[in-house]
């Protein structure tokens, strides 16, 4: 049980180190891209260095996902409290309708409502990211068998103690899954945010598409794919910490 977990973390660390090495050596990029696309003269997106684009991208995702997590998890917990039972259905309903709406649509809608720039993108990512987090928090808490909570209260835990000692630890795995899905969607949608002026790895892609420069596209696309996979693995590994039945 312990060993495969350790192996997964090791793989992640190696991949991460590899990612850092690639990202920080712009020369390698240049040489590789030159080798692949011989007829393109300018292979490196000149406006913003790769590291800076990655930084902008991370900033975007961390701010929006951070907001998502600190509001989504408490919101999900809140609506599962017995006093809020009436609102649970409507929140579930809104969330499942919301998840049917494509993330691009939410991003696009942010513009007529909030205008261009960083803030609308962060808000759109935040709002859309809430859906899987809230949904999975609710699902996680509802997945706890009633008799487990029954014995928690029966042993004399207060509502707060039962929440922090029983409900949150037991729903942690599903909550983490929600967070992972949310962050992955945000990494992807943030790329499109470049069009609205939020910067990030999407800028190189958009520039590449506009100027018909495949090398620019690669410069944005490869690190983004890498980032998404790394993040996905990272959260998956965290999720497996909270598996209690095998």
């Amino acid at each position: 049980m312990k060993n495969p977990k350790l192996k997964n973390w090791l793989i992640l660390i190696i991949l991460f180190a590899f990612f850092i090495v690639i990202i920080s050596n712009i020369d390698w990029w240049q040489r590789a891209l030159h080798f692949l696309f011989r007829d393109i003269e300018n292979v490196i997106y000149p406006r913003v260095p790769l590291i800076a684009m990655l930084g902008e991208h991370l900033k975007l995702v961390i701010i929006s996902s951070g907001l998502t997590i600190i509001t989504g998890v408490p919101l999900g917990i809140w609506v599962t409290r017995s006093s809020m039972r009436d609102f649970l259905d409507i929140i579930n309903n809104l969330v499942s309708i919301g998840q049917t709406i494509p993330p691009v649509a939410v991003l696009a809608l942010a513009v007529p409502v909030f205008g261009f720039g960083l803030i609308p993108v962060v808000l759109a990512l935040f709002l859309y990211g809430l859906l899987p987090v809230v949904r999975n928090t609710i699902a996680g808490i509802q997945s706890i068998p009633e008799f487990v909570l029954d014995s928690a209260y029966g042993l004399g835990m207060s509502k707060m103690q039962a929440l922090f000692k029983i409900e949150i630890p037991l729903s942690a795995r599903l909550i983490m899954t929600g967070i992972r899905i949310s962050v992955i969607i945000n990494i992807g949608t943030a790329m499109i945010g470049a069009i609205i002026g939020a910067g990030g790895l999407g800028s190189a892609v958009i520039a590449g598409l506009v100027q018909d420069n495949v090398a620019y596209i690669m410069e944005g696309v490869v690190p983004a794919a890498f980032l998404a996979i790394l993040t996905d693995r990272f959260f998956s590994n965290i999720e497996s910490i909270f598996v209690y039945n095998q």
Partner: protein
């Protein structure tokens, strides 16, 4: 100790528990039993305020439970349920430590208490402390559930079918073990079951419920021999005479048994046999090994030749047994008199079918007469 005074609980205009009163004395085990939906679980949960009664009062040691904060009240009452409800993310040790930790015991004290409790429920602390609930069998989980309920040494235990979710064999073992624990600890216990045999076996007093009301509250013997009305009569079933026998310990009815040592001379054996039709034969350590019929004795020259060897399991009962077990062995072995031994096989005495006949005749019950 625990006193329920005219408790009523109404759900959707329907009284699930209706005007229910019950007194349980200190150190007594009261078993609540009744058909499903009769309100027994609701009643139990009102005692530790998991459910609030619509009307009526509950006192513990003459303190009104309504005046005690629910969390604090529950920490002073052990609680074990059929589904056990062990916390899957905590080890066995952490599960047992829940209430002591809520009560802020010292770490050292908690650690000692965990070991003590694991030994009490018959599990090795070294092996089980660090296991997780998913690694336990059903019976083990229920024992841990009981240990957890006992953790902070509460004077009262509430148990909702605590041995419900295991196979019959394990259940009997758990019951025996729990009875032994209770002999040692003398808790005040209210236990719910739907298994009448369990109730008869465990209870000091049985409370039979129907449609939220108390029908009869009495000792198992009286429930069996004097069912209050048609409902109890039917609930107890046509085998109540047998069930009653299972409540009666044989110790009062053991007669001294004629016995000879296998090394005795034939004279001595003949002498011992004069007054009775047979004698039991024991080895040098007074362990039962067989019996000798007087008729055969006259035709043989040595004890060894005359001895009919026996297997203890087939014809003997041990001293703690009930009359029901005696009857069962008599029927299967075809003997009207069987020997009683202690756990190690030493002959203590014998017991005769006439006892059972007498007891049964005494208890031709009240209800049928009236």
């Amino acid at each position: 100790m625990i006193s329920l005074n005219k408790i009523t609980k109404v759900y959707n205009d329907k009284a699930v528990v209706n005007n229910f009163s019950l007194e349980v004395d200190r150190g007594e085990m009261c078993v609540l039993i009744g058909p499903s939906g009769c309100g027994k679980t609701t009643t139990l949960r009102m005692i530790n305020r998991m459910i609030e009664p619509t009307s009526g009062e509950i006192f513990i040691d003459s303190r009104d439970v309504k005046k005690i904060k629910p969390d604090l009240l529950r920490r002073s009452i052990g609680y074990a349920i059929q589904m056990v409800g062990l916390f899957p993310h905590m080890t066995v040790a952490a599960n047992i430590a829940v209430v002591p930790q809520l009560l802020r015991w010292e770490k050292k004290k908690i650690k000692n208490r965990i070991d003590e409790l694991l030994i009490l429920v018959g599990l090795s602390p070294a092996e089980y402390s660090s296991k997780y609930p998913y690694q336990l069998s059903g019976g083990e989980a229920q024992r841990i559930g009981v240990a957890r309920a006992l953790a902070a040494n509460p004077p009262i235990l509430l148990m909702d079918e605590p041995f419900g979710a295991v196979d019959p064999l394990t259940r009997t073992k758990l019951q025996t073990q729990f009875l032994n624990i209770q002999k040692e600890l003398h808790k005040t216990i209210i236990l719910i079951t739907h298994d009448l045999d369990e109730a008869i076996r465990m209870a000091d007093r049985i409370a039979i419920m129907k449609d939220g009301e108390l029908v009869q509250y009495d000792t198992p013997e009286n429930i069996l021999s004097r069912p209050y009305n048609q409902f109890v009569y039917k609930f107890v079933g046509t085998d109540r005479a047998l069930k009653r026998l299972s409540r009666i310990n044989i110790s009062k009815f053991i007669k001294s048994a004629p016995s000879v040592d296998e090394d005795f001379s034939m004279d001595k054996v003949n002498q011992a046999c004069e007054k009775c039709r047979w004698v039991w034969v024991t080895d040098s350590k007074h362990r039962l090994i067989g019996w000798i019929d007087r008729k055969i004795l006259s035709q043989t020259t040595s004890i060894k030749e005359a001895l009919v060897p026996v297997s203890l399991d087939e014809i003997a009962v041990t001293e703690g047994a009930s009359l029901k077990e005696v009857l069962s062995i008599m029927l299967s072995s075809g003997l009207r008199t069987i020997p009683v031994t202690d756990k190690k096989g030493f002959l203590i005495g014998e017991i005769d079918m006439s006892i059972i006949e007498r007891i049964s005749a005494e208890s031709i019950n009240h209800y049928e007469k009236s």
